[in-house]
Point group: C2
């Protein structure tokens, strides 16, 4: 294992110390690990918070800043953060306008964010929690029941972060997050495995001429293995699965702030259709350079055009990664005027910046 | 070889087509390959142009846009672009205020940019050409005599691009480029090799527990091979070589616009010294994720502090890459008020964006 680390137990802490040194506009807490905006809590503003295992940088810590997240809770590599991290982060970021948790659908994350929501609610903090589950590749996976939360997370954090910055209240932020999740679909693939520092060896083995389609962001198994083929063939296969994905119905638990209980909601995502406009996001899994992402984007744009889907905006680069894994993911998020307005709004974070 | 490409002969063209699809604000020409701002030529503005082999994305094409480059000429992978590309790009970007070529010191690039400068001058276009040679690792290398042009290129393109946007004339832009180059020093290292598509196999072999210090951006040999060690040890070794680098004197050729001849200049870079402020740039070679770059930055900040050097600004991420090579480079560029002002100015390109 060759990685730019020191001791295996120090990986996440030292990366956070590097972030603290590089970004004095952020407040990086080491014990427990969490990152908040330096000006947190921001008076009158809903605190938008996410978190999850480390190894997906810049997500989530790199998306803390004006116009995006108020806070992020990094767990150890590919390991859920703990409820106390989430609770401390929520307390540090809450201005009184409440806390919105954006939770990727992995069993550990969901469980811990639920505990943290209850802990915050017990302190009188208004809290809501929205589940992100956009991966069309598999129904259930190694780490979760239902679809995994992947690339749409980045898009939701940007859009809901901008809405909170613009003065949306907690209910409005939660509604918007739920809507963007229902509009987002993703799929990933891997050319190589990643190596988790504590394991010291590849998470899985792929042959020299073999790829994994539908891979998760932790190297968990995907949909299928197949022989390596062209960028065009891979891109078309994945884009079509996303575009032709049927309506998806599942039951999610959300926190009922008024009554202080968890309620179950049945949510259904409508499929994409000709005439829709989307944000198209081509993401590197970490080890794939941006040049190859442009080859993917070329074909993705052609497939979308062929299907009557207009790409209104795009994002191309490493934003939700899986350590040094080579591969990419495609995310398409249907947009409307509200979503586009918040996508275009200024953002100033280490990982995503424009207009500021 | 597993890469997201189609035919080997189509790699660069298809990546450019992807850029064209993703960035309608750019004008991407396919035959010959060059990229200019969509609004080129910009009246009254010096056209800042760079170029070099492909495989280093986002450099240079991803740095075309408001506040940075007016044009970029991508060669085939790790292959110099041709004089006709540079000439066509210069003609498309020249508004009458002239063309400034920013040329990384590789024999092929230097030769072809010299020919292109003469071709433009023959058409009456005012042209100047500044050599970038900032790599302290080796005196001469496989592809050039003298120091190679590496990370400082990104910094020069940003700063001189902002100056041109602010109305600097051709002489002023050239003076500023020469100054920033004299203030910049870099060094890189590799954990793994890259694979050039046309070769189909790694450019060099590194053992499972071996690294290469002082590597170039084409996988050309560096200073030494050594056993893998900690991020801290590697970072300190490289940072000290940069900080303690002596005054460097060499003879460069620049075009004398008035007399239409090449003149030789002897230029000397002053060493860094305690009390200096710098832009610190930690760059991924392509396959190293940003999380590991933060571990490097943590130690780099400590070494700089220890040496009395203040980091005024930083840039951390994959900006001048070597395909999917794992590894990183450090660049330190001494700054003054003029340089900082132009570093902070708005920039809007696919690869670097803020304030716009």
């Amino acid at each position: 294992m060759k990685k730019l680390i020191n001791g295996i137990d120090d990986v996440v802490r030292e990366q956070l110390q590097g972030m603290a040194a590089a970004h004095p506009e952020l407040s990086v807490h080491i014990d427990p690990h969490y990152i908040v905006r330096g000006d947190a809590p921001v008076a009158g503003k809903v605190a938008v918070i996410s978190g999850g295992g480390s190894g997906h940088e810049p997500m989530h810590g790199g998306f803390v800043g004006v116009g995006m997240l108020d806070g992020a809770c990094p767990g150890e590599v590919f390991t859920s953060p703990t409820p106390d991290q989430m609770y401390e982060c929520g307390m540090a970021a809450n201005s009184g306008a409440g806390v919105l948790f954006l939770v990727k659908n992995y069993t550990g994350d969901v469980m811990n964010f639920e505990m943290a929501a209850e802990m915050l609610a017990a302190e009188g903090v208004p809290v809501q929690s929205i589940l992100i589950d956009d991966d069309v590749a598999v129904k259930d996976s190694l780490y979760t029941a239902g679809r995994r939360g992947v690339g749409t997370t980045v898009i939701i954090e940007k859009i809901v972060g901008a809405a909170a910055e613009a003065g949306y209240n907690l209910d409005q932020c939660a509604d918007l997050a739920r809507k963007v999740n229902s509009y987002g679909r993703s799929m990933g693939m891997a050319l190589t495995s990643c190596i988790v520092p504590a394991a010291g060896k590849p998470t899985f083995d792929l042959g020299d001429d073999e790829i994994e389609i539908g891979i998760g962001i932790h190297g968990e198994p995907g949909q299928k293995r197949m022989p390596m083929t062209s960028a065009d063939a891979i891109t078309e296969m994945m884009a079509l699965e996303i575009i032709e994905d049927d309506a998806y119905t599942r039951t999610v638990r959300e926190w009922d702030t008024e009554n202080g209980i968890w309620v179950e909601l049945e949510l259904t995502d409508e499929p994409l259709a000709a005439g829709d406009s989307v944000i198209a996001f081509v993401n590197s899994m970490g080890g794939t350079p941006v040049s190859e992402l442009y080859a993917v984007y070329r074909k993705l744009a052609a497939v979308c055009e062929d299907k009557g889907i207009t790409i209104a905006r795009n994002l191309i680069g490493p934003y939700i990664t899986s350590l040094e894994m080579q591969g990419f993911s495609i995310t398409l998020v249907k947009v409307d005027d509200e979503i586009l307005k918040f996508w275009d709004a200024p953002v100033n974070t280490p990982g995503l910046r424009w207009g500021a």
